[in-house]
């Protein structure tokens, strides 16, 4: 009896220590953001709070305003979606999920014109920031975050 219990406990511990992290459905937030310097900056959107320091340091702007966004719950890792503003469109095509994150194909359109295309492996712990074209005195940024 005691021997059986010891064996069961040992196997359970072994399996638990060896099994990979369980995957679940996760939400990817994608945003079209205009970064600019203004006299009275608006508070940063909540989706960007965790990377506020990096955004300000990297791009040197004091305001980050979301002009288009999409929040997509990924269940199969094969979904695609669109985040749009009046003139821009960010098409995201998820092409699979791995332990590391999601493989995404991203296309930035200005109206119907393709400006930029990239493939990325989006980590669940690491946001992706893409510097887009200059817009007026500001900068268009494309940001993807696994929430």
């Amino acid at each position: 009896m005691g021997r059986s219990l010891a064996l069961v406990a040992a196997f359970t511990a072994l399996i638990m220590s060896a099994s990979p992290e369980l995957q679940g459905a996760e939400t990817v937030w994608s945003g079209l953001v205009i970064a600019e310097n203004v006299a009275q900056p608006q508070p940063i959107p909540s989706e960007l709070t965790r990377i506020e320091g990096s955004l300000k340091k990297l791009f040197g702007y004091n305001q980050f305003q979301v002009i288009g966004q999409s929040r997509k719950l990924l269940t199969t890792g094969q979904e695609d979606w669109l985040a749009t503003s009046k003139f821009f469109g960010l098409h995201v095509d998820a092409r699979g999920e791995s332990e590391a994150g999601y493989v995404l194909n991203l296309k930035l359109y200005k109206e119907k014109e393709l400006l930029l295309e990239t493939d990325a492996k989006l980590s669940k712990r690491s946001p992706l920031v893409i510097k887009g074209p200059q817009v007026g005195s500001g900068q268009l940024l494309l940001i993807l975050v696994v929430q």
């Binding site: 320091g53 400006l115 990325a120 510097k131 200059q134 817009v135 007026g136």
Partner: protein, 175 residues
């Protein structure tokens, strides 16, 4: 009226008494040989009872019997061999086996831990930061555009940095 054989059988079984017993014993031609025969019959009866009883032994009686025999044997052997030395009841979990089992378990655990940790490290590295696999811009729209990639370790942000994309008027910042 009982026949001689019936009375003989009853006498052997000790079922005659009183006047009947006295009459029967008086009718015996050789009482001594009859008594000897009675004793033999009793012995035979006892033997048969014992043998038949052994054949109809039930399972639990059989095991109980075996157990009793084993206990008796184990109790007798040490006292015979060592003359009153302490009797040790053997168990599976001896100290040596416990030590071996502990050592083997530890070795198995360490081997698995090493394999799991070694396999996990590359995955954790790739989980840590987003990777940009490739990027391209339309050379017609932005012929002078350049692309670079880097990571801002502070917030674990991966950046795709473009330069030379076509600039747009501020109207394009509309929601």
């Amino acid at each position: 009226m009982k026949t001689f054989e019936e009375r003989w059988t009853a006498w052997l079984d000790g079922q005659l008494s009183g006047r009947e017993l006295a009459e029967f014993e008086a009718s015996l031609p050789d009482k001594a040989s009859a008594e000897a025969e009675k004793a033999e019959a009793k012995k035979l009866g006892a033997l048969l009872k014992r043998e038949i009883g052994a054949q109809t032994l039930m399972n639990e009686e059989f095991f109980s019997h075996q157990l009793r025999e084993r206990i008796a044997r184990e109790t007798a052997e040490p006292s015979r061999e060592s003359g009153g030395r302490r009797i040790e009841v053997p168990t599976w979990w001896t100290i040596r086996r416990l030590l071996w089992t502990g050592t083997a378990s530890l070795a198995v655990f360490l081997v698995f831990t090493i394999f799991v940790v070694r396999d996990k490290n590359p995955a954790e590295q790739s989980q840590y930061l987003t990777q940009i696999l490739n990027a391209r811009v339309d050379p017609v729209v932005s012929p002078n555009a350049t692309i670079s990639m880097f990571e801002a370790k502070e917030d674990r942000v991966t950046v795709l940095w473009t330069e030379g994309l076509q600039s747009l008027p501020s109207d394009y910042a509309a929601k």
